[in-house]
C-alpha cells in the first residue's frame, strides 16, 4: 500500500483522525441518546426535507434520518469491530503458522485458503447467510469467513519476509525454539503491517455490510443500517434526494477516514530507514 510522502499532506492524517473520531463519538453517543428514536414513526411529517427540526430530513414513515443514521453507525461499527477481531485473530494465527512453519502445514493451509479465496467475498457471505439465516451474528460469521482468506494471505507473506531476515536466523542459532522465535521476533515485527491491515479491513467490512443490507440480505428493516436505508430510498431518488445522500455520505466518510488513518499508520510504523 502506498504511503504519503512525509513532506506533503499531513492534512490527510488530520482529516483521518477527525473523521474516525467523529464516528466513534457518534457511536458512543448513540448508545444513550439520539435526537429522536430511530424507530419512532411520525406520520405527520413524512418525507420532510432537511430543516432545523430534522437535520437530515425524515423518511417515508416520518422517522428522523439523523437518528437512524446514528443508530446505523452503531450497528455498522459493531459488526465491523466484531468481524475484524474474528478475522484478524484467526487469520493471523493461521497465517503465522503457515508462514513460519512452512512444509506440509503451509501447503495444506494455503490450498484450502486459495479455494476459499476463489469465492468472491460477497458470494461467500451470501452463501453463508443463505444457509445460516439472517441477523447480526450470521453477518459477522459470514463476513469473517469471507475475509479470512485475504487476512491469512497477507499475514503469511509478511511472516515469510520477516522469517528470512537474519535476526530470526540468529535467534535460531542461539538455540531458541521455533515458538519463542515466532513470538519474540516475528510477531512484534509483523504487528505494524497487521495493524494497517486491520484498519483497512474495518473499512471493507463496513462497506460490505452496507452492500449486503442494500441488497436486502443484511440487516433487516426496520432496524436502521446505512445500507438498507439506501435501499429504501431508491423509490424516492428523484423526489427526496436527501434520503439517498445522507446514508451514502456516512459510509463514504467512514471509509475515507479509515483509509487516511491507515495510510498514516503505514507511514508512522515503517521502521526507520537504513543510514
Amino acid at each position: 500500500m502506498p504511503g504519503w510522502s512525509k513532506t506533503g499532506f499531513p492534512v490527510q492524517s488530520l482529516l483521518g483522525f477527525v473523521l474516525v473520531g467523529l464516528l466513534l463519538l457518534t457511536v458512543g453517543v448513540a448508545q444513550f441518546w439520539t435526537p429522536y428514536g430511530p424507530l419512532a414513526i411520525d406520520l405527520n411529517a413524512p418525507l420532510a426535507p432537511p430543516s432545523w427540526r430534522h437535520w437530515f430530513g425524515t423518511d417515508e414513515f416520518g422517522r428522523d434520518v439523523l437518528s437512524r443514521a446514528m443508530a446505523g453507525a452503531r450497528i455498522s461499527v459493531g459488526i465491523g469491530c466484531a468481524t475484524v477481531s474474528c478475522a484478524i485473530t484467526a487469520g493471523a494465527l493461521l497465517g503465522t503458522l503457515a508462514g513460519f512453519l512452512r512444509g506440509w502445514t503451509d501447503r495444506v493451509l494455503m490450498t484450502i485458503n486459495d479455494a476459499l479465496l476463489a469465492f468472491p467475498g460477497m458470494l461467500l457471505a451470501l452463501g453463508f447467510i443463505a444457509v445460516f439465516a439472517g441477523g447480526e451474528g450470521a453477518i459477522v460469521l459470514a463476513l469473517s469467513v469471507a475475509y479470512l482468506p485475504s487476512v491469512v494471505r497477507v499475514v503469511r507473506s509478511v511472516v515469510l519476509s520477516i522469517r528470512e531476515r537474519e535476526y530470526v536466523e540468529a535467534s535460531r542459532v542461539m538455540g531458541n525454539s521455533s515458538a519463542y522465535s515466532m513470538l519474540r521476533h516475528v510477531v512484534p515485527n509483523a504487528l505494524p503491517q497487521v495493524a494497517v491491515l486491520a484498519t483497512n479491513l474495518f473499512g471493507w467490512v463496513v462497506l460490505s455490510e452496507s452492500a449486503l443490507s442494500f441488497l436486502g440480505v443484511g440487516i433487516p428493516a426496520p432496524a436502521p443500517s446505512w445500507g438498507n436505508m439506501l435501499a429504501a430510498a431508491r423509490p424516492y431518488l428523484a423526489s427526496a434526494a436527501w434520503l439517498t445522500i445522507a446514508p451514502g455520505a456516512c459510509v463514504m466518510a467512514t471509509l475515507l477516514g479509515v483509509n487516511w488513518l491507515s495510510d498514516t499508520l503505514l507511514e508512522r510504523l515503517r521502521p526507520g530507514s537504513r543510514s
Partner: protein, 544 residues
C-alpha cells in the same frame, strides 16, 4: 588535438535542503581531468563522492541541488544545457557504471534491448550493424557465447558478468568520459581485479578519461594516476596517486592509509592443545538449484574435511560461489547436508537428541555479514546482547543483565544500552552483534564476512575488537572472508576454497608466502596492496 581538459569542475557545491538549514553535501569541489587520464575519487560513505559523479550528469536525487560552481565538460557548462542536448551528452559523451550489478540492469528487458537502446538513441546504424556492434563488444568484455547472452535476461548472470555487460553497454557508445562509481565493491577479489583491468584496458584503447570513485585505497594505488581524497564533502588532499599513498599529508588520508589491511608480522602463536574441538569429515552440501546445470547435482560444498582446535581461528577464503558461506551454515546445522560428518565436542548439530542439540547451540554462535539485518529492529541493544543468556541456566535475571551490560562495555558501547539498532551506525551494530555472539562464552564462533560491509577505518577497529575478545575468552572461530588482508590480521590457519573444494590449507604465513595452488596464487595477485612505507625500500607498484 586540442589539449583542453575533458572535465573541469570549478568550486562545485551541493546542498541538501533540510528542515531549516541546508546540509552541505559537497563544498568547493574542484577537479581537472585530462583526456585519457584516470583519476580516483576516494572517501568513505557520506563523503559526497557519489554525489559529485551524479552532479556531472545533472542527475542529482530529488533532495540535492547544486548551489555553487560550474561543471564544464569539453568546454560546455552542463548546467545550462537544454534537456535535449543534455540527453545527447549523456551516454554518448559521458558514460556511467555503478556499484550494484544486481540492480543496474533492467530485469524485464533482454540484454540486447538494453545494449542497443543507447545505440539507437545516439548513432545512426542499421539493425544489423547494431547487433554486430553489441556482439563484438560483449566478446571484448569477456562474455562467452554472446548470442545467447543477448537474448537472455539479467537474472541469468552472476554479479561479475553483469558488471561486464554494464561496461559493454557503456563503452558501446564510445564516451569521452567514463565515471565508474564503486564498480567493483560488490564483487569478490578475483572479479574485482578482472573488471578493473578491463575498465583500464578499454579506456586506454579508446582514449577515454576515467573517474574512478572508490573507498578502497589499495585499488587507487594500483590503477590511478591522480587521486582526490574527500572527507565529509571537502577535498582534504589531492595529487599524484603514488605520492599521496606513500607520504600522505593530511591526517585523514593518513588514517585511511593506516587502516588498510596489510601484510603484518606473524601473530604470536599459542601452543594449542592437540585435541580437536571441531571435526568435519567429507562434507557435501547440495546447492539450491539456480541454473539449469547438466542434469547432475551441483554441490555447494563438495567433500570438505577440516579440523579446528580450541581457541584457534581458521579462515576460509574464496570467491563468490566457492561454497564458504554454505560451509559455515552447514557446520552449524542450519542447512541440511547430503553426506559427511560434523562433530563438535562429540555432538552432531543435526542430532535428534534434544539435550545434545541444545548443548551444541550453547557452544556455538554466528556473526552475520549485514549489520543492518542481523539485529531485531524492535529490541533494545541491551536485550539483544542479553538474549543468548536465556540458555545459561546458572544465572539469575539480575546476573544476566549485569553480564550483558559488562559485555556492552567491553565492546565500547556503554551508554547505548537503551537504544534501538536503527540509531546506531554500521560499525556500532556489528559490535553489538559481536557482543551478542560472545556474551554466553561459546566455544566456537562462525563469523560470516563480518566486516565486508563496513568502511575501511571501521573495519580495522572491529577486527581489532574481535581479536581482543578472542584472545580474552579463548573461543575458536571459523572466519569466512574474501579479503586476504583480513585473513592476515586475524587468522592462525587458512583454507582456500574454490567451487566447493579445498584447494589449499595451512598456516597463514606458509600459505601466503609459498602458495601451492594456482588459485591461491591468483587470489594473492589479485589482492591490491600498497607500497610498504619504508625509508630504504621503495616497492614499485605497477600503476600504468
Amino acid at each position: 588535438m586540442s589539449a583542453a581538459p575533458v572535465l573541469v569542475m570549478d568550486r562545485v557545491s551541493l546542498e541538501a535542503p533540510g528542515a531549516g538549514l541546508a546540509r552541505p553535501v559537497l563544498q568547493d569541489f574542484s577537479l581537472l581531468l585530462e583526456r585519457g587520464e584516470l583519476i580516483a575519487l576516494v572517501g568513505e560513505s557520506g563523503s559526497g563522492k557519489s554525489m559529485a559523479a551524479r552532479a556531472i550528469l545533472q542527475l542529482l536525487p530529488p533532495g540535492v541541488r547544486q548551489c555553487g560552481g560550474r561543471i564544464l565538460f569539453a568546454g560546455t557548462d552542463l548546467a545550462v544545457l537544454p534537456p535535449a542536448q543534455l540527453r545527447a551528452v549523456r551516454g554518448a559523451q559521458i558514460g556511467l557504471v555503478m556499484q550494484e550489478p544486481m540492480v543496474s540492469l533492467n530485469p524485464a528487458m533482454t540484454i540486447y534491448r538494453q545494449l542497443e537502446e543507447g545505440l539507437r538513441l545516439h548513432r545512426e546504424l542499421s539493425p544489423g550493424e547494431r547487433y554486430t556492434a553489441c556482439h563484438e563488444m560483449l566478446a571484448r568484455v569477456g562474455i562467452p557465447d554472446p548470442p545467447r547472452c543477448l537474448s537472455a535476461f539479467p537474472h541469468e548472470f552472476s554479479g561479475g558478468q553483469r558488471q561486464r555487460i554494464m561496461l559493454a553497454s557503456v563503452m558501446l557508445l564510445r564516451p569521452k568520459l567514463l565515471i565508474a562509481d564503486e564498480p567493483t565493491t560488490a564483487l569478490d577479489t578475483l572479479n574485482q581485479r578482472e573488471v578493473l583491468d578491463l575498465i583500464v584496458a578499454l579506456a586506454r584503447e579508446a582514449g577515454v578519461a576515467v573517474m574512478l570513485i572508490t573507498h578502497n585505497l589499495a585499488l587507487v594505488g594500483r590503477y590511478a594516476q591522480r587521486v582526490v581524497v574527500l572527507e565529509k564533502g571537502r577535498i582534504v588532499e589531492t595529487g599524484a596517486a603514488r605520492a599521496v599513498l606513500e607520504s600522505p599529508q593530511h591526517e585523514y588520508t593518513r588514517t585511511l592509509v593506516a587502516s588498510l589491511p596489510r601484510r603484518a608480522p606473524p601473530r604470536d602463536r599459542f601452543s594449542a592443545p592437540t585435541r580437536e574441538l571441531l571435526t568435519v569429515t567429507d562434507l557435501r552440501v547440495k546447492a539450491p538449484q539456480r541454473k539449469d546445470a547438466a542434469h547432475s547435482t551441483v554441490w555447494a560444498v563438495d567433500g570438505v574435511s577440516l579440523k579446528v582446535r580450541p581457541a584457534e581461528i581458521l579462515a576460509v577464503v574464496g570467491g563468490s560461489g566457492s561454497g564458504k558461506t554454505t560451509l559455515g551454515r552447514a557446520i552449524l546445522g542450519l542447512i541440511p547436508r547430503a553426506a559427511g560428518e560434523i562433530e563438535l565436542e562429540g555432538i552432531d548439530p543435526l542430532t535428534t537428541d534434544r539435550r545434545q542439540r541444545a548443548a551444541f547451540r550453547r557452544a556455538t554462535q554466528l556473526i552475520f555479514q549485514d549489520p543492518y539485518a542481523s539485529l531485531d529492529p524492535r529490541m533494545r541493544v541491551l536485550d539483544i546482547v542479553g538474549e543468548p543468556l536465556r540458555h545459561v541456566r546458572e544465572l539469575t535475571t539480575g546476573e544476566r543483565r549485569s553480564r550483558a551490560e559488562e559485555m556492552l562495555e567491553e565492546v565500547g558501547l556503554r551508554g547505548l544500552a537503551a537504544r534501538f539498532p536503527r540509531e546506531l551506525s554500521g560499525g556500532q551494530r556489528q559490535r553489538v552483534a559481536i557482543a551478542r555472539a560472545v556474551v554466553a562464552r561459546p566455544k566456537f564462533v562462525v563469523a560470516d564476512e563480518p566486516v565486508s560491509a563496513l568502511d575501511a577505518t571501521i573495519q580495522s577497529q572491529v577486527l581489532a575488537l574481535f581479536r581482543r575478545l578472542q584472545r580474552q575468552y579463548g573461543f575458536a572461530s571459523l572466519f569466512i572472508t574474501h579479503e586476504l588482508g583480513v585473513v592476515e590480521q586475524i587468522a592462525d590457519r587458512v583454507i582456500v576454497m574454490q567451487r566447493g573444494r579445498i584447494v589449499e590449507e595451512g598456516a597463514v604465513a606458509a600459505v601466503f608466502d609459498h602458495p601451492q595452488a594456482a588459485y591461491t596464487r591468483e587470489l594473492l595477485e589479485a589482492t591490491p596492496t600498497i607500497p610498504v612505507v619504508s625509508s630504504s625500500t621503495q616497492v614499485c607498484v605497477d600503476v600504468d
